[in-house]
Point group: C2
Chain length 437, copies 2
């Protein structure tokens, strides 16, 4: 073969350093999800194509589709939500509602590749299926808050709004449902193009100057949540759906507060749009403000999708952690674990001491250490120590014939060069002491 | 939609109970792999078709292949070994050899479905790339032994042999390389069809009665490893490759013993064949003898595949844990975790006590408990307790207005019905005490 094979464009290899960060992220998220009683679900990467079709709109062309050996039309899943809807319909008798489920896995879309966009992308989804209670919405916000905190983020805010707040703003500005779609799309760009940009876009789509002012005033409201909700309540007086949405958000905030979400970790943000055709109630989005990294992830309430195959109403609220996005941000900010997999490297002094030296490796593993050792019993000791150091391992264990005769072992700190001598039987205790120092 | 969608045939949904077992298996394996300094690698599910082609022989027709949106010929990986060979070639400058890597993921083959055979199947692979040392083979056997022990298996034996032992048996029986293939295939069936079946098959393929006797005698050798190796050494005297193989196995056993593999956990078994076109040295296979569950997993040394794309020799030894097989066996034997995700269920006494009751859930989570709570603040208490019990949760927390006024909380044991009363601030400590009792 003259050219060496490459990974497929838009699909990443995660080499050990990256994969260790990835596993740290997934492990941290799982621990938080399980603390809230969420249960894991895993569905196959492949679904019958017809299960996935008709739900993605224009984006449907991005699905990877093919026929299998038996002529079945299959497709690679493009999210973990439609498979959840299938599972809920297929195993109704085995599932108790409300059901808290999480899922960690890859999805596939044949998108144009660009920075941060992958054709194979990983998500960790948490959803509560079968409850329309504001406590469920609050729990999702608590999970989001705990998860980002556990990952080490200390400067994020979860923006909160509700599908019917933007709807109410459009309605009290005199726009009908059809025109409202354009308004949402324009407002969604507020952070990117600024108020003047939004105004231009709105006026180009035929919104009057007065209505523009009103809309821009309301979507720009900020400050503490209570005063934003009060201002919205006054401005949207007479719009029943918007008033119900404001009450709903108040209830969500009360429950989220009880569940431990601090008041500096959320803010009501009427401008929050997020794919509106999908969401039916609360919407949320976590943003890192300092350093300004933008949106980390989001979600909300979507009451019409999960019951689709079960042919009944299954109100659902959830969020999806985009693992590639989290990964890239954490890498950029230097967050997460660094360094070698192994705690300690066990050398082999010479071929005669092989069995005794390998037994030290066994002893340390049994005591819970992560241990690497040389595989070449006749390699020079200096070379072994260099290898350990190059691999970023902090300590090396050496036991030559003299130490062996004396029932001793030497631990060498590969950074400082300092050496510590222990009785062989006390190696694990001694090493633990040095590592903690 | 009139018919409800189903999962694709041969590809499993893992519902929570199954997925909790699966995660337990993966978590346990990863912990053992990392104890030996193995590093995680993740490659995409999709590869360029040409990367995978030409390596599977007849089985190549089982590959799922298709063209993507840009007309690229892609294929779903059918194992994690060829992607490893690609990674080693593609990132040569970033990888230090010998490299211990593990990978946990799904592979795909359009096989005829049958019990225990899936079209989407999961494997946990551990390989040491770039070392021909017997210490590497020994380390793989130590990993295998530790992993099965950590999973709770206490009645397994790892059968050991070497590609050149069966080869030597064929040669000293007067068979050429071409005839030897048929011998291996016949011997591979020894456990299934017995010695008489193997004899019939060998004689049908033209092996003389004398040679049959000789072969059957040698492949049936059993007993302690040293005496089996001595008997083989005598019988295969004059066959240089077989003698080198016996020396190699002796070295592997010495190192494995130093690494803590107990002598009752391995046995030299000359009959062990395993896909011989692939392996070049030691082969191994772990079997559960009591109850007789047969082979759990296997592996060995394969020195010719991993260097294929890198165009250099990269001797490699490794094993693959078939997670579906392990899962099915452990389910059948009742091994692994059982029961609910949550430790405790927090009730909401009535809508007025919602915030106070949810705060108890928060308090318990912060103390490390897994906590589920009701989402319906006006649900009857009896219904909530019943739900918790049905979900298999052992304890419920109740705090009505009286308890709240007294700064107290009640923990109810849902099995026995016993109730325990604690000061609210001491809930976590109290609950931990009951759970440990």
């Amino acid at each position: 073969m003259s050219t060496k094979p490459q990974n497929v464009k838009g699909m990443r290899d995660l080499l050990p350093q990256a994969m260790m960060l990835r596993q740290h992220i997934i492990g941290t998220l799982r621990e938080v999800f399980e603390r809230y009683g969420f249960e894991p679900l895993q569905t196959p990467t492949l679904e019958h194509a017809e299960t996935l079709e008709g739900k993605l709109g224009d984006e449907e062309r991005l699905i990877y589709r093919f026929e299998d050996h038996g002529g079945r039309k299959l497709a690679m899943r493009y999210d973990q939500t439609v498979p959840l809807a299938r599972v809920v319909a297929q195993y109704q008798s085995q599932l108790q509602l409300p059901w808290r489920r999480y899922a960690v896995g890859a999805s596939y879309r044949g998108e144009r590749t660009q920075r941060g966009r992958y054709r194979e992308f990983y998500q960790a989804d948490v959803d509560i299926v079968g409850s329309s209670s504001p406590i469920a919405d609050a729990e999702i916000i608590a999970v989001l808050t705990d998860a980002l905190t556990a990952l080490g983020f200390d400067n994020f805010v979860t923006l909160l709004s509700h599908r019917q707040i933007l709807g109410g703003i459009a309605r009290v500005s005199g726009l009908d449902e059809a025109a409202a779609g354009g308004v949402y799309r324009a407002i969604d760009k507020l952070d990117k193009i600024g108020p003047d940009g939004v105004r231009t876009e709105l006026m180009n789509s035929g919104v009057s100057a007065d209505a523009c002012d009103r809309i821009l005033h309301l979507v720009s409201l900020s400050g503490d949540s209570e005063s934003v909700l009060n201002a919205l309540s006054t401005a949207l007086a007479g719009d029943e759906r918007a008033q119900a949405a404001i009450i709903n958000l108040r209830e969500i905030i009360v429950a989220a507060t009880a569940l431990g979400v601090p008041s500096n970790r959320y803010a009501v943000a009427p401008r929050l749009a997020r794919g509106l055709s999908y969401y039916t109630g609360m919407v949320c989005e976590a943003v890192v403000e300092s350093p300004p990294m933008g949106s980390l992830l989001g979600g909300g309430r979507y009451d019409d999708l999960i019951g689709l195959f079960a042919e009944r109403s299954l109100p659902t609220v959830g969020i999806a952690f985009g693992l590639d996005r989290l990964h890239d941000v954490m890498e950029e900010l230097g967050m997460g674990p660094r360094g070698a997999m192994a705690d300690v490297y066990v050398t082999i002094f010479n071929p005669e001491s092989m069995a005794a030296n390998l037994a030290l490796a066994h002893q340390l593993r049994a005591a819970g250490f992560k241990v690497e050792h040389t595989l070449d019993a006749s390699e020079r000791l200096g070379k072994q120590l260099k290898t350990a150091d190059q691999r970023g391992i902090a300590f090396a264990v050496v036991q030559g014939p003299d130490e062996q005769a004396a029932g001793e072992v030497v631990v060498r700190d590969l950074k400082s060069g300092n050496q510590h001598r222990f009785k062989s039987a006390e190696l694990a205790t001694g090493l633990r002491g040095i590592m903690q120092a």
